[in-house]
Amino acid sequence: MIESPAGTGWYVYGVAEDDPALARLDGVELIRRGTLAAVAREVSLDEYGADVLPERLNDREWLERNARSHEAVLQAAAAVTTVVPLRFGTIYRGRGHVERMLEERNDEFRATLARVRGHVELGVKAWVDLAAVGQTLDPAEQPLEGGAGMAYLQQRSREQDRSREVTARCFELAEEAHGRLAGIAVAAVANRPQPRELTGRSESMVLNGAYLVPDGDEQLRSEVDRLAAEHAGLGVEYELTGPWPPHNFAGEWE
């Protein structure tokens, strides 16, 4: 088996059925086996070697550039044919290794391609202003009784109850939204909402969903509009991203 020259490897972005239109994509090469083609690029192992990759990931500028480039290649491929995205940073030491992987995984790739063909992934996030949700709940205030110490404890207890109610309400909103969107989509995944310390926003993310829908179908978009209209008074904001290649629906086979 021929290996690449020392110091280079083949970075594989995704796998598709071999298609002449794929061969015209800039900056990538196709590695073929059977009816499948891996969309790949030769990369330097100085950049992508096992010993440097984990450290590179902590370089925000490097991460952003390469994550965007990974996505850009997948989108270019997805524009011409159905592609199964591979996870970022899947690298082989030689073309022969990629060919062997395609051969070993032929059935899984072809089944996944058949499942996602003609579909795209849309992302829907819901953001909630917790204070605004709190204001929509019944006040249920009663005068505080007893001395100052007792009043303080009652106040604390009420605040804790209120916080639990707000959390429960947010959970309900997220469940309702995800349920309605999942009912329209071919497949749906509710991912862990991104934590506030990472989003940097004052609102809390309560829904981080991904939905597989027919390409060009506007039903999910319309349902998001309806949800936004219905929940506007609750301080909920919806965000739609995509269309994405089917990252969330490519399946994990291992």
Binding site: G9, V12, G14, V15, L45, Y48, A50, L53, P54, L57, N58, R60, L63, E64, A67, H70, E71, A72, Q75, V84, P85, L86, R87, F88, G89, T90, I91, Y92, R93, H97, M101, E108, F109, T112, G123, N191, Q194, E197, L198, T199, G200, V224, D225, A228, A229, A232, E237, Y238, E239, L240, T241, G242, W244, H247, N248, A250, G251, E252, W253, E254
Partner: protein, 62 residues
């Protein structure tokens, strides 16, 4: 009514959205070099630290 739309290739899609998909999803096949699950967790920790330090810098600049 508010729905914000972000096209996935546009710069406005956050790095977090990309990390959520590109690093966290997609088919996992064993390459000669493959990111381990722990590496991806490290990315989140790394981003958290980077954002925390950016916030600190902003506060210091204020």
């Amino acid at each position: 009514m508010s729905v914000i739309e972000r096209r996935s290739l546009a710069e406005e899609v956050t790095l977090l959205d990309l990390v959520d998909r590109v690093l966290n999803k997609g088919v996992v096949v064993t390459g000669d070099i493959t990111l381990a699950v722990g590496d991806v967790d490290l990315v989140y920790v790394g981003l958290r630290l980077l954002l925390a330090s950016a916030a600190t810098l902003e506060r210091e600049a204020a």
